[in-house]
């Protein structure tokens, strides 16, 4: 029900929205909860386990009951807190976890079965028959459980991430936070003030106390005017990480209709020199039988609805409390004209002076009302009572929101005088708690602690600040007498969201789950969307009581990030679609696409798979043609993705000798050599060719996949073991576009295009040339087995050269070839790639043990000599050829003929396979136990995945031109 002249809503801006298909109106500034309350809607949700009717318990993000699905277009946001969601024109929300409707929910039958659904009941049953678990029990449980629905469709809205830096981060904008920010801001510090609510002011917005809005407005105006202050509303700090890094979630577009490019949320990484925790405190419910009905809410929430939104939660209100503070709520409701039935105070010695009946030593023991509260009953000093009431406010005292202070594993301390956990200094380095978050509950105390904390924080940053004069504010003492649970025979809820009752906690204790962690995990208390914010301390107190321990001794469970739940969309912003990893394009990319080449991912790069010609309908046709084209004429391929590292210095040769197994100091200038690089543990890291460009100048190539890893490795070896050597290196991968030109007509092609002839350019030679007026590097190397060259030009010229090479090649009956053909040709030649050197392979395995030079030390040499890394038990590289022309596949395992196909008989596996149009056979490279000694033998190749079983002959891995006559031609 809306009350006139109250609240911070904008009554000039009416807003229309729907809930469960019915249209309602509210005002700008309303939350969905306040707007529903204003419209008299009490039943908003259903509970998790028993499907109990639920209303609105709180006025903040800790709401355990009023969770809804918000619809926008085809999308749907489950578990949205009605107490946080601001309304906007067109907002559509619907209730969740109910079927067929909120009012008539079939699964509310669970409520009747409650005796059999006690804590942990599922650990004790559903075990027989075994096969029923996946088939029957589990699907039933899964369907009944869960809350809102996630739509199985791709998200289309956007999310954002950002970094921010400050001297001082103030978390929370209540009296402590505002005062802290003001103090630091006036001292010139760089301040961020983050507030989870849409409006700054914290409880000053709800309290309507002595300080109130004028001071909030004036303070915010001053802060807004200062260039060194950043005010971040709708921004919840959700985690404290190391070295002053905080995570925060900003609701950017959730209070607005969707708009193009407007992020729904932004995930902030805030780096702060110091921080102040001014998150305030949460009022706690009291557990009594049936304390979960719609219409039962926290006293402070009622105060917020009244003062912030101009809404009252009922016609006839009752308060059940154990402290003085809660009476503010009924006093102000009465002042606003609301009828208050009674104050039920659990204490025997509290004041009875109020404008309504006050009963001491009171306890509510039961409530009535199926879809909303109608009556409460209980006892007080004068005996039993029954009261007709549609709204029961409860207050069990306050819990400081210590959560963020505990994110780095430190535990809060129990303060008996306020019956609450409070933080202490040093829990998170640089973080100080102030105000209610620190257990200082009066407004005056909050202001003072805020100012003091800011002065101290600035002192730590080496700045001077002085606390401003504090405004007049309420400084009433906080008086309460702990009351956690009213004894009763029924169910008294502790954790509303997960339906955990006092009985459940006691049962856990009875069964020996007495550690607080055991209790939590056994009952699921604290694991619901409110993360136990409404129940942790009470449940702990009940457990302490049940086990005869004190609360301090019982201890808390660990508070972990996030402080409030954070969407995966926000934390994963940017990852959607192609954004997960950078996309790398070669200079020939467009030219390849122009020719219809399908581009495939190779690491982060895109490379052409094959270049289809008219009439070719399968990749194999194109691939076969390209292979035969290279073998008979000439082919061109962009190989720019290979890593290229420029190495210079008087000690460059020595350095290469150290990182490669073989020797490079003996390599003549102008020559190229294949190199094998090991990890220090003796396994192969990478291979490639290295050219000596000058006396003190080398150019190393790496595989595409290992380029970054090799660079890191070289940096480590240099900086850790030989920083005093005169050698430096830098990646030039991106500086040069490099193209393979291979085939018997390769030289002809190059001679036609280069500015000089290369008739005398033997295999494994390097030279500087000029192509169409551009300086280029030419290497005579081959990965195809043909006479091959690689020509490199500065990247800017890459595309032009590629097009010219292709045009020229095509006049010679050649053309472009892609990754598929490249792969076939290297398999035909037995050249390895990372399909073979997959990290478990030694030089011995690939037949290169002799390349580990005996005369010098090198990285990996010593460890490669370990007994487990050599010998006939090792699987060694071999070639495989099916005895018939049957298709084979990589990943198949090898068995001796006659052996049973099972692990103990496994002889090895296939790493690479191709159809060789040259040899007209499938070919495979494989690792086979003692393989080098088994050339000519036959093995069985068994592939369960592809359902093949093929007899193969073991061969040398080099199928084609083993003498290398072609590549030396």
């Amino acid at each position: 029900m809306r009350i006139a002249a109250k609240g911070l809503i904008d009554r000039t801006k009416p807003v229309t929205f729907t809930f469960d298909g019915k249209s309602y109106s509210g005002f700008r500034g309303d939350t969905l909860a306040s707007a529903l309350m204003a419209n008299g809607v009490r039943l908003v949700g259903r509970s998790f386990k028993y499907h109990r009717p639920r209303g609105i318990l709180t006025a903040g993000p800790e709401e355990p009951n009023a969770m809804v699905e918000v619809l926008d277009g085809a999308s749907q946001s489950p578990n949205t807190r009605a107490t946080v969601q601001e309304i906007y024109d067109g907002l559509a929300a619907q209730s969740q976890n109910r079927w067929p409707s909120l009012r008539y929910d079939l699964l509310s039958v669970n409520d009747l079965a409650a005796p059999f659904l006690s804590a942990g009941f599922y650990y004790k049953t559903f075990m027989w028959p075994r096969a029923f678990w996946e088939g029957i029990y589990e699907p039933l449980i899964r369907r009944a459980a869960g809350l809102g629905r996630l739509k199985p469709q791709n998200e289309t809205a956007s999310y954002e991430k950002a970094f921010a830096f400050c001297d001082l981060l103030v978390i929370g904008s209540g009296p402590a936070g505002l005062m802290a920010a003001l103090t630091a801001a006036r001292a010139g510090a760089d301040v961020i003030l983050a507030e989870q609510d849409s409006v700054m002011g914290g409880r000053l917005l709800s309290d309507d106390g002595t300080l109130g809005m004028p001071w909030v407005d004036a303070t915010l105006a001053e802060l807004r005017a200062l260039p060194n202050v950043r005010l971040m509303a709708r921004t919840t700090v959700v985690g404290a990480y190391d070295q002053g890094t905080y995570a925060a979630l900003e609701r950017v577009g959730l209070h607005l209709p969707a708009a193009p490019h407007l992020p729904r949320e932004c995930f902030w990484r805030i780096v702060a020199g110091q921080s102040i925790l001014a998150t305030g405190a949460l009022e706690r419910p009291i557990a009594f039988d049936n304390n979960d009905r719609p219409g039962i809410m926290l006293a402070s929430a009622a105060l917020t609805y009244l003062n912030r939104f101009g809404v009252v939660p009922g016609q006839k209100v009752t308060l059940f409390a154990n402290n003085d503070h809660a009476r503010q709520a009924v006093r102000q409701l009465m002042a606003a004209g609301v009828q208050v039935a009674a104050i039920l105070d659990s204490r025997a010695d509290a004041s009875t002076v109020e404008d309504c009946p006050v009963y001491l030593s009171a306890a509510v023991t039961d409530t009535q009302g199926r879809h909303g509260l109608t009556e409460i009953s209980g006892t007080h000093a004068d005996g039993a009572f029954k009261i007709d009431t549609d709204c029961l406010l409860m207050s069990g005292g306050w819990n400081p929101l210590v959560n963020i202070a505990c994110h780095q594993n430190a535990r809060p301390i129990w303060r008996e005088d306020i019956a609450a956990f409070v933080p202490h200094s040093g829990m998170v380095p640089g973080l100080t708690a102030a105000g209610a978050a620190n257990g200082a509950f009066s407004t005056h105390a909050a202001l003072r602690e805020g100012a003091d904390a800011a002065v101290a924080a600035l002192t730590d940053l080496g700045r001077t600040a002085t606390a401003p004069d504090l405004p007049q504010a309420e400084d009433a003492p906080y008086r309460l007498q702990p009351l956690w649970a009213v004894p009763g025979k029924g169910r008294a809820w502790l954790d509303f969201a997960n339906d955990v009752t006092v009985k459940d906690v006691k049962l856990a204790a009875q069964e020996g789950y007495t550690s607080v962690e055991h209790m939590k995990r056994y009952t699921t208390q604290g694991m619901a969307p409110d993360q136990g914010k409404n129940s942790n301390v009470s449940a702990l107190a009940v457990l302490a009581d049940a086990t005869g321990r004190g609360i301090a001794e019982t201890g808390t469970t660990t508070f972990r990030a996030p402080f409030t739940p954070v969407s995966i969309g926000a934390m994963g912003a940017g990852g959607q679609g192609a954004g997960f990893a950078p996309q790398r394009y070669m200079t020939s990319d467009q030219a390849s696409r122009d020719r219809g080449a399908p581009m495939i991912e190779a690491g982060l790069w895109y490379r052409p798979s094959y270049f289809p010609k008219p009439g070719e309908t399968t990749w194999r046709q194109s691939c076969d043609r390209e292979v035969l084209m290279v073998r008979s004429a000439v082919g061109v391929a962009d190989v720019s993705t290979l890593g290229k590292i420029d190495i210079q210095g008087p000690d460059a040769a020595r350095f290469l000798d150290f990182v490669y197994t073989n020797t490079f100091s003996t390599l003549p200038v102008g020559r190229v050599r294949y190199g094998l690089m090991l990890r220090e543990d003796g396994f192969v890291l990478d291979d490639g060719t290295t050219a000596r460009l000058g006396d003190t100048h080398y150019l190393m190539t790496t595989t595409t996949a290992a380029a970054g890893q090799v660079m890191r490795h070289l940096d480590f070896v240099h900086q850790a073991y030989c920083a005093d050597w005169q050698v430096r290196f830098i990646s030039v991968t991106e500086s040069w576009a490099q193209f393979a030109v291979a085939g018997p007509m390769a030289k002809m092609l190059l001679n036609a295009l280069l500015d000089q002839r290369i008739d005398d350019f033997p295999f494994m030679t390097y030279g500087e040339v000029s192509v169409e007026g551009v300086k280029a590097r030419l290497f005579r190397i081959s990965f195809s087995g043909e006479e091959g060259y690689e020509i490199a030009v500065p990247t800017a010229y890459g595309e032009a050269l590629f097009r010219d090479l292709l045009a020229k090649a095509e006049t010679l009956g050649g053309g472009a070839y892609g990754m598929e053909a490249l792969n076939v040709m290297r398999i035909e030649k037995g050249f390895i790639t990372h399909a073979e050197i997959h990290g478990r392979i030694t030089a011995f395995d690939i037949g290169m043990a002799k390349m580990v030079a005996s005369k010098k030390d090198c990285i990996g040499k010593a460890a490669s000599q370990r007994p487990g890394l050599m010998g006939p038990d090792r699987e060694q590289l071999v070639g495989l050829r099916p005895v018939t022309k049957t298709e084979i596949g990589a990943g198949a395992h090898l068995f001796n003929l006659g052996d049973k196909v099972e692990r103990v008989n496994d002889q090895g596996y296939v790493t690479s396979v191709c159809w060789s149009p040259t040899m007209e056979s499938y070919l495979g490279l494989a690792f086979l136990k003692d393989g080098r000694a088994r050339h000519g033998q036959r093995v069985r190749l068994v592939d369960h995945m592809r359902k093949t079983d093929v007899l193969c002959e073991v061969t040398d891995p080099v199928f084609l031109d083993p003498e290398g006559a072609k590549l030396r031609a």
Binding site: Y241, D242, Q243, G244, T245, R269, V271, Q408, P429, F658, E680, D681, R712, D715, F716, H718, Q719, A720, Y721, C722, A723, D724, W725, D857, K861, A862, A863, R866
Partner: protein
Amino acid sequence: MRLTCPLCGTRDRREFYYSGSEDYLNRPAEGAPIEAWDDMLHLRTNPAGVTKDLWYHETGCGSWLLVTRNTVTHAVLATELVAARKGGAA
């Protein structure tokens, strides 16, 4: 988490690559027994407390750093350039 690169200043953890304990710096001389390599490559004191380990400023300046840290609190106590250490020639 933030680390201080002696050259670039305090930077976010995401700029760094981690390789492991400082043991990797103690590369045995050629011909050392396999136990020495086992110590370098595999065996670790692995303290719950202060440790020294190796980080690479990978998306930064390319320096390898020797970092003194606490593995329980994540406090970073000191960072130095690996290249600036005494000796180390292979």
